[in-house]
């Protein structure tokens, strides 16, 4: 309460205690802090389809779109090389098609740092596709970090499911998954 002393003394000296002036300059209106101060907005909901069957038919290798990674690892594992090669081949043969690679991480740690780690995974898949002949303007690598877990669990198995990169396709007419 030491800090009270000086203003308190000043107040007492100037006007005496019972007639301490009320600061009328404080009479500015108290603005609406919520309610009318915020206009609600709704976003999201892109979900167009319309891709060729070979990209979506479960019997086609191209319907497999997920590449899984080990803990703290960002290189495409050998077991996914054929899968990535099949997608690269499709992009080489279909120059009008584009892919978005979304990198993902498990839930542990900082959301923004995980976003950057997921980016390392998607960048790694992108590099493989480009090496195999896909064009730079056909491939975009992005990260969803820990924000879109495929497995909502909180154990080792769930975390392994979520250390992943997914490939999304868009047809030349603009229809597709992104």
């Amino acid at each position: 309460m030491k800090k009270l002393l000086i203003p308190a003394l000043l107040a007492a000296l100037m006007v005496g205690c019972s007639s301490t002036p009320i600061d009328e300059t404080g009479g500015a209106p108290v603005e609406s802090r919520s309610g009318s101060g915020v206009t609600p907005v709704t976003a999201g909901g892109l979900d167009s389809r319309g891709l060729p069957r070979e990209l979506t038919d479960p019997k086609s290798v191209l319907s497999q779109r997920s590449i899984y990674f080990d803990l703290d690892k960002y290189e495409v594992k050998d077991e996914y090389k054929d899968l990535v090669a099949a997608h690269a081949k499709y992009l080489v043969a279909n120059k009008g098609f584009k892919v978005l690679i979304q990198g993902n991480t498990d839930e542990r740690g900082s959301r923004e740092y995980n976003l950057s780690l997921g980016q390392k995974r998607s960048d790694s898949v992108k590099r493989s596709l480009i090496l195999l002949g896909a064009k730079e303007d056909q491939v975009e690598s992005v990260s969803l970090g820990e924000e879109k877990p495929k497995n909502p669990g909180h154990d080792e198995a769930a975390w392994a499911d979520n250390r992943r990169a997914d490939i999304l396709y868009k047809a030349p007419d603009g229809r597709g998954e992104f």
């Binding site: 209106p29 909901g45 740690g109």
Partner: protein, 422 residues
Amino acid sequence: MPHFFRKILLVLSLLAATAVQAQLSIEITGAGANRIPVAIADFAGDPAAARIIAATVRSDLERSGLFKLIDASGAGLDENSPINHGDWKSRGADALAAGSLARSPDGRMEARFRVYDTQKQVALGGAVYVTGNDQLRAAGHRIADYIYEKLTGEKGVFSTRIAYVVKSGGQFRLQIADADGQGAVTALSSSEPIISPVWSPDGSKLAYVSFEKKKPVVYVHTLASGQRQVVANFKGSNSAPAWSPDGRKLAVVLSKDGNSQIYLVNADGTGVQRLTQSGGIDTEPRFAPDGSIYFTSDRGGSPQIYRMGASGGDAQRVTFEGNYNVSPRPSADGKSLAFISRRDGRFQLAVMDLASKQVQVLTDSTKDESPSFAPNSRMILIATETGGRGVLSAVSSDGRIKQRLSIAAGDVREPAWGPFIQ
């Protein structure tokens, strides 16, 4: 009862439940060592309105953990009543506030009050706040701020606002509420995640990352109008916005040139300038009041916090203990740095005194995230987890005072404490 009516009843009760559960509830789990005993007399004037004012002031002061409320019932005072200081002192009150509510000529309410030091037997000052009938709680917060400042010498934060993200039922809602969690309104709803909200220095806008375009894009959102502007949507990921102290620029993290690196853009998205040039990850930039930038980088092999000048260049490493220190947040007074530190696999809120470089871990939780300082640098809001649910926790910068804010029907995360109101 016919099946049809039962269904309607069920829907109605669900709606009612949603409305109640959307409100943040607050729980205090600690208090300061030396609380100032203060009495807040009932305000004179319209009893219903006066009750709202006094109750808001009392709960604000109590929640801060710095005050002990002394019962003042039946005092029958207003701001002009003579005060029997000895009487209040003997009741245990070191300070007293009394006031009244009156209708102003334009139909609004005027709250007048004075604050007294019963030890020194003097009035410390008083003020009048004019408010609409529906804004009585806002007036109460302003009065609590006034009393807080008179009694502690620091500015109060009761009339500031907080932003946070609620995830429930697959929907993400960016919400704005009073600092006590009341009066929550939704600024943005989306079926895709929203992360990293940050307030512009004037409190009129939020910058954040939205995934509504299937990738992270940085937006600036004007709260009053709902107008949204894309400020960074380059090829690759765009994230981690931070306002410059003058509100004219944003530091952002872009992957357009390869790794996640830090760039500066004007608040309208023009004039992109690269600030970091490392082979690894540079992210989570935050401006200190002196204009320097703290950020997270893995350039040394593990994620650690570094500091560089406003225009980039050489960076100095700031954290050395442990192998995971992230999410740096310098305080507004420039004296301390809050961050998240991983210790024995637990992610905990830590604070570094920037003068002595001493680090103190403030929580015993395991999943702390996204710290945010109150504008008076006294409290830190974090996201954490209890019982498998995301909640917010406010922790005093000495770790003594803890409050938990939760929502019954959802996960709360990504808190951002707004600036002082202007």
